[in-house]
Amino acid sequence: MTSQSRETIALASEPPRARAIARPSLRQILIALAVLVAVVVPFVLKSFFIFQLTLVMVYGLAILGLNLLTGFNGQFSLGHSAFYGIGAYTAAILMEQLDIAYYWTLPCAGAVCFLVGFLFGFPALRLQGLYLALATFALATAMPQILKFHPLEPWTGGVQGIVILKPDPPSGVPLNADQWLYFFTLAVLLVMFAGAANLATSRTGRAIMAIRDHPIAAATMGINTALYKTLTFGVSALYTGVAGALGAIAIQFVAPDSFTFLLSVSLLVGLVVGGVGSIPGSLFGGVFVLFVPNIAERVSTGLAGAIYGVILLLVIYVMPSGAAGFVRFAATRLKSKGKLR
């Protein structure tokens, strides 16, 4: 990692906290408004769109996981599709083979992914920047193969994958299955985002960021860098794994081909577009990952890939520090204009 990109990451993560302390009311009002809109939306929109929004939240959560690792701790990962896949498969296997209720699969998926992420964090300690990216890339490439691996087939279903039944809303709740899943995902999302926000502003969060900004200085201050780095890897995998489990429940199907390296790249794109080191930005990343390929396809089926590329270039050009950075920039501009008057 170059020192320049470290600086941009540092810049990106500093202002929101400063603003949060200076004007907590505005931030809280905005969050409350967003939640309100999120609660009303499923009653006015079609099922299909609700399903898409559920997926946006799922990808947002997965991107948040990556964000904790890359944005806050400065470790690169191209392997988050693997954690997402492990989470999805954990949920699918628990639901289909052990008949465990869908809501219990989330903590299980989280725990499994935390463990895998934590263990993967150890070799990652010795690797920096590009080398870590390569090591995690290997993980992403290996995952679909492992899922197809013959001895594991009784559980994973091999290439055929596993079909899951969509959870019905609990009896007495006047919602359809899509609405119910939407609210379920929303609840999980709010809890996990609040958790991440808490983590980021806590002592632990400061330690995590200190390691990103200057590992040697952090170690000198008495931070156990090895422990914090591996733990961050674990927590990051946990977030992405829970997202994977939610995604599996929403899609109702898992197969090795769903969790290829391309998914990792999508998550990385979402991370950068949303804003590295921004918690709400992750959600915007989810919006981008889900909707922009569709928009590109609507413009031209044959050139969808190229149009996606053009949109991505434009977005990066207009918002070099992601959506979160753009909002911050706009806010400061408005504020300074107000002061001038």
Binding site: S47, Q145, V163, F253, A304
Partner: protein
Amino acid sequence: MKKISRRSILAAAPSALVLTALPVRAEKQYGPGVTDTEIKIGNTGPYSGPASSYGTIPKAEAAYFRMLNDQGGVNGRKINFISYDDAYTPPKTVEQVRKLVEEDSVLLMLAPLGTPTNSAIQRYLNQKKVPQLFVATGATKWNDPSHFPWTMGWQPNYQSEGHVYAAYIMEHQPNGKIGILYQNDDFGKDYLKGVKDGLGDKAKSMIIVEAPYETTDPTVDSQIISMKSAGADVFVNTGIPKFAAQAIRKAAEVGWKPLHILSSVGASVGATLKPAGLENAKDLISAAYIKDPTDPQWKNDPGYQQWVAFMDKYYPEGDKTDAGNVVGPSFCQTLVQVLKQCGDNLTRENIMKEAANLHDFTVPMLLPGIKINTSPTDFAPIKQIQMARFDGERWTLFGPVLSGELSG
């Protein structure tokens, strides 16, 4: 009172009219996506992603419907063919298919492509009672009308092809020692199962080497050498073109000359045999169900000439040596027959009823003698194939059209 009665008579008059009109209306029944002038049909395919070479199939389908619409459509209705990219990933397929069903409200899904992608949408479409017709994959599981009454396959499935090969081996080399090369996924295992089931009790003693490969393997050389050294004298090669070609070349290099059976998946002259070296491919045995567009024997065939004319006018950028461009229009022609049989009763129920009611139907690019047949308990439209031998230049068909039905 009088007033009221008069009014009620007036009010009753239109409803009486409606009543008398009812029998006429009963003939015109429309499901979602159908009007007097249009039928909406949904499709997904891999325009991007790892399987994007198959993206030409839905493109050829779209081209075919353009031609059909120029000719007036089906029973006066134009086909509005809506096809989205699924990048060959199951989650994207689910999203796109939900969009087609819930937003675009298509009448049915035609030939969605790929085994994992179709698996992902099968339960959803069956829950919603939307026809998932003529899926573009040869897996055996699509013929399961009792569990999935809204899903139907199209091409001969890999297992029944395996049956046909087993029967050929039993006839020509009843004491053969068989080596099988297969792709380590459901597609490869389908073949393996078909050959084994076809051999029956003799499978255990006859198959001496089962050699899987991964699509990520660089070569299959070691598999070929192990078969040769094990003394196999029958080689069932079920690889996709890249690996099938490697296997043919390697076998020739090491001087191994077994009875070499090449599955239809890898039987393309352009994609497999030319890279393998035509001289190495001589006397290969395979099976086919469509006319290979690179095969010169069809040059004067009216079905082939029709197809070339269609390609020239409506899909000139399409590759005329790619069998995908033959299969795509054939899906469409089968659907058009179903729509014709449905007449003005274009409900989803009736579509499935007529799709399961095809008798001895054929499309121009199927091999002569191969017929499409379905019934309420048989959702495998094409079950017949014909054996072919490669003479060093082209496939020459031989023997009768065979049926590899799984019940047998």
